[in-house]
Symmetry: C2
Subunit: 245 residues, 2 copies
């Protein structure tokens, strides 16, 4: 069984940001796609889990990019499993340009949940066999456990719409990422590129849910963000940017 | 030169609607992608036009679907040029399921514009050579020239955000489509599938532009939609639905 797989993509003009780069939400979707593909190939995917009434749920993502793929550029994503224990599995990604130069890394944490009970399942019971765990830890700063934003610089209300909802009938991962990026204006991204993005998913949102998107600048180049409804925090995130030279 | 090309796609769970089908905005993006690919292959694409300071602009789209590709299903899109005159070019699409059954068609109209003057260019001057025009007209009802919505059933304000903007620094085509679909709720699409969608792009919107999204029910299964700012209509659209049995 393959301990890692690599997929190559081409970034067409129609899929670029205003800065002619791969959009962060599109990269997050690609990470999910290739993780799904690898899980299926090594038989720990949807088909296997659903027999136990379970499904993979993405819990945390951290991405660090030195450079973003540009317009009409090919790039590749490689993924492997870093670790797997009773509670969660860490999965790593390496992003390379068309010459094979490493331009970024990502680390994700996944849990399996019982679909009806919405509670975590024991991964070691679900997968008693030996899995192709490669182990290499990507050079990404560990996840930070962010506290609640007490004093936000800006609070923006939002109500989730039809196109935000995916086939699980929850708000889609990439929509959260877009909602966060939309707190910044075009000029901000013209002047800055995202060097690190981190997000933790805590509670699921559904069609019609109304939330507040909060943003707090923690220093010049770092921002903390939060999506919360009246009762619960849905996600916490942090964005670090680097001025474009 | 190929008078038509076909591309095959796979619809993964992560890319489905809540009804486990291919989302309309994703289909519109696929039509644009394959049109771009075919134009490049027959050397009437971006690289050729930019030498004359021109670019293709999508003017109108009409899509009619008998059935939508479903979760974990393969489907194919075939495209060809129907006609090309001084002012515009019509391009057709056929959507088939994995058994080769035709499940839908689309017709699009494209114009070339001078990038700086933002005015239409003469396609016959740009392409004096003989082009591989296949000619077959797809079985899609012709475009309807919709008048302005005078009395809307609902008007929703919206301001375009960072993730709505593409590499041309205009609002992306699929974002208009999403904005229109978001005027309906989840229950509506659980009970109805889109059988025809039509959109005409009249003016470009930019980052930060504030618009009104207007909707008017013209009969039980037909809706007219409009996106307009204070001065201009940006797009007019019509959606026809069929109750799911």
């Amino acid at each position: 069984m393959e301990s890692q797989i690599t997929e190559t993509y081409f970034l067409s003009a129609a899929r670029c940001t205003p800065e002619d780069e791969l959009p962060l939400p599109a990269l997050v979707q690609k990470l999910i796609d290739i993780a799904t593909l690898h899980a299926n190939r090594i038989d720990i995917g949807y088909d296997r889990l659903i027999k136990n009434n379970c499904a993979w749920v993405l819990s945390r993502v951290a991405i660090e990019m030195e450079r973003w793929p540009g317009i009409n550029e090919s790039y590749s994503v490689t993924t492997w499993i870093v670790s797997l224990n009773r509670f969660y599995s860490d999965r790593a990604f390496r992003i390379c340009d068309s010459d094979g130069n490493v331009i970024g890394h990502a680390l994700t944490t996944w849990v399996a949940i019982d679909i009806d009970a919405r509670r975590p399942a024991n991964l070691l019971s679900l997968f008693p066999e030996e899995l192709p765990v490669k182990g290499d830890i990507p050079p990404v700063k560990p996840f930070v456990r962010h506290s609640q934003i007490e004093i936000a610089d800006e609070v923006t209300p939002y109500t989730f719409c039809y196109c935000d909802i995916d086939c699980n009938r929850h708000v889609n991962t990439t929509r959260y990422v877009e909602l966060l990026l939309n707190r910044f204006d075009l000029g901000f991204f013209d002047e800055n590129r995202i060097s690190r993005f981190e997000i933790a998913f805590q509670n699921e949102a559904h069609f019609g849910d109304s939330v507040d998107v909060k943003i707090a600048r923690s220093d010049n180049n770092e921002f903390r963000l939060e999506i919360a409804d009246e009762k619960r925090t849905l996600t916490r995130a942090a964005i670090t940017v680097t001025p474009r030279s």
